[in-house]
Symmetry: C2
Subunit: 177 residues, 2 copies
């Protein structure tokens, strides 16, 4: 199973293609589609849509995952975010789409539903053995990992409890021997 | 000049193709793209996008117009509206897009920036000589008329003042001889 995680935004849309073999995650490719705020919105939405279509054409993911948005700081910014999110959903409409709320994503990746962006970034690096410098890209990877763990890939042959999973992650991170 | 007016929404997206000859407006075609709230959102966004692409392919408008949204009742509904609006903007990204705020649209079509939906519907009927039963469709026609009057078609050969325009509209409506 190959998951396309997306963190849409009108300025920056993070995306990541993540594979899983057993308990290992591999970031096959990831990036950020950046648009110029000086360009007309239809042009920017076209870049987001076509950028994601290009990612799908190149990497052939079998599922897509997005963050579920319940609340937002203001109606005005929610409208603009909605526009980017709409074209992202359109771009992946050929794939099964799964959404997860922010708490589930944070909890899956860091163990805490209240983790901040930096913690998410660090744990993404631990999970995948890659360093990600852009938060939107790290978020997209985190969303893809969440789908692998929740609805995506079959569990490893030996059923791993949540505690086992954290022990394994801590070990890989060098926090315990 | 042929204008595609759009009133996007996740459930109902009104659209209208409006021509202008001199001071006359002609609704070449109009309709509503309805989506099933029971369907997954990507499917519904695909229907809105592909529906509008079909309208463009069939009627070859030379410009598109949308309502500018500044405020909205809630961030949650703004996000959902934004998604529909995003795919509508994507669908028309091959055309010059113009946006007008609600007050300008109402004032252009009814003479009052505080007109209600029923007044907009009635005045659209007067302008175009068609009866429109669906509010979303009437709104799409109103948006197209607004673009014709503001940035769209060249003014009639004899420059018509706003007062003249209202006199002409009232005459056509039978309100004055």
């Amino acid at each position: 199973m190959r998951v396309l995680g997306i963190d849409p935004g009108s300025r920056r849309t993070g995306w990541a293609i993540v594979d899983r073999q057993g308990s290992r995650f591999t970031v096959v490719a990831s990036g950020v589609i950046q648009t110029d705020p000086g360009d007309p919105m239809p042009t920017r939405l076209r870049e987001i849509h076509d950028g994601l279509r290009g990612v799908i054409a190149e990497h052939a993911p079998t599922a897509a995952a997005l963050e579920e948005i319940f609340a937002h700081k203001s109606a005005a910014s929610a409208l603009v975010l909605g526009q980017a999110r709409g074209v992202a959903m359109l771009a992946v409409s050929s794939l099964p789409l799964h959404t997860y709320n922010a708490n589930t994503i944070k909890k899956t990746v860091t163990g805490s539903g209240t983790a901040d962006k930096a913690q998410v970034g660090r744990m993404v690096a631990v999970h995948c053995g890659v360093e990600v410098r852009v938060a939107d890209e790290a978020d997209a990877i985190a969303i893809a990992i969440t789908h692998h763990n929740h609805g995506g890939s079959p569990a490893p042959a030996r059923r791993t409890s949540r505690r086992d999973m954290w022990t394994e992650i801590a070990r890989r991170a060098g926090a315990i021997p």
